[in-house]
Symmetry: C2
Subunit: 284 residues, 2 copies
């Protein structure tokens, strides 16, 4: 999806982390989940933003990659039988299928816990910066963020919800970790703009999800390359709640707001601008 010049440094950071875990089932399950075909969207956004701010990301990789551990844990737990009950992920069996349910739950627990440890192990950051990043990650991932979104997602199945509810769900489930990625980079390189990067992450997440809803509606399953699982489960989408035209209008409004923020932050035609455009112009 991206010009992957940053992939090697992300993979190296993940492998260094994995090397700290004692050999055994837990390490195998965590490695299996972490070294899949992940696109590394979240750490990539933070790393690229730092570069666009003129800062070398290398000394900050642990803190910038922590969000990928959180994202990976959330996928493992979301795939469990008592949640989305998915058996395949990124072209291979999900962790609870390849191992077992107990191991999958514990691998997720370890990844989540270790993500915070990884931030504390970022030598180039001050104690205050580490604390601020951990606070952001925990808030965006916990009972005020992603986990709350997942509960709302489960509750929304087979139920009529409002567009406001759906919007909040997308914010919590998708935008929150993107916000955390950008805000982590902002703590390092643009402290005064943290709130603006939080808004930027909001629009990236929402646009991504609305596009997803439109694509799911307009493309055939073959074109999307996955089963229309959301539709099959009667999950509400932007299109099902507002129709295609209205969804496209809101998509355009959000895109304008995003572009305005990019301008305000002086990021036009930087590599982070390119990366956001690539992320948000996928055809499937």
């Amino acid at each position: 999806m991206f010009n992957n010049i940053h992939m090697p440094m992300i993979e190296e950071t993940l492998k260094t982390y994995l090397s700290t875990i004692p050999d055994g089932n837990l390490k195998q399950a965590i490695s299996y989940a972490l070294l899949g075909n992940g696109k590394r969207v979240r750490p990539m956004l933070g790393i690229t933003l730092l570069e666009s701010l003129g800062i070398n990301p290398l000394p900050y990789l642990n803190a910038l990659v922590a969000v990928e551990l959180i994202h990976t844990y959330s996928l493992i737990h979301d795939d469990l039988p008592s949640m989305d009950n998915d058996t395949m992920r990124r072209g291979k069996p999900t962790v609870h299928i390849a191992f077992d349910e107990g191991t999958a739950i514990l691998a997720g627990d370890a990844l989540l816990t270790d993500s915070f440890y990884l931030v504390t192990e970022t030598k180039a950051l001050t104690g205050d910066e580490k604390t601020q990043i951990i606070s952001i990650l925990a808030k965006k991932a916990g009972s005020l963020g992603m986990v709350l979104g997942q509960i709302k997602d489960i509750e929304s199945e087979q139920k009529q919800i409002s567009i406001e509810d759906l919007n909040l769900m997308y914010e919590l489930k998708t935008a929150n970790l993107i916000q955390a990625s950008l805000m982590t980079a902002a703590v390092i390189g643009a402290k005064k703009d943290i709130a603006l990067y939080e808004s930027l992450g909001y629009y990236i997440g929402l646009i991504f999800q609305i596009q997803d809803d439109i694509l799911e509606y307009t493309l055939t399953p073959d074109e999307i390359g996955k089963s229309k699982s959301d539709e099959l489960r009667d999950k509400p989408t932007y299109v099902s709640l507002l129709g295609l035209d209205k969804s496209r209008i809101i998509l355009n409004q959000y895109t304008q707001k995003l572009n305005h923020l990019i301008q305000t932050l002086g990021l036009e035609n930087t590599s982070i601008h390119d990366q956001i455009k690539q992320l948000l112009t996928r055809k499937k």
Copy 2:
């Protein structure tokens, strides 16, 4: 179990935390798990240690109570059908029985995540102190600590393991969070002695577990007040591996080491000494 003079401040801190969670299923499940009949052993140890060091614990309650959120998450996940499959806990149905499995997993995830947020919200601590406490909590709870212990526990069922394996399992599953409690207090009030408090926590955890193994063997189920679930599952114990006499000898050796540490740390006849004695002289 204790002279519970600290219980109200722990309960207040937990309730203040709960008040930050939006109303709904997630909050209900977290409240249900957190406000049971927990003995609050871990936060109590940290609070009492601070007092014995002559420091008022009140400004540090968030950091001292964070370990209780981690402990509670671990109970919720350990009770799941794919783990220990327990239906009752502290005299009421476990979270996945009272709610459902998905909600239980997410309530645990939220508690774990929020525990780190709680540390960042401890205004009396410096950024470096918060970072140090988070690092300790994450290391003792994650892939090098409690989660690793739980994987080893699952793997040990129906399998012959060595006394060294069992000892490591007890260290990871039980001692690690006790160590984290004492070390958190030491970061606040006795930085130069952190390593000694880590040893102290090790012996408290091991003694507690060996006593448990001896009690399970010598008392009837009625006296213990719970089903002999470990025995039913053929789990190895100190007594099953070494016999009763050898177990008692090791228990005495560990108790001597503990007492020596209490002396070294100048804690004799302080309230933390009393509390450790109470914790380790239970009859069932």
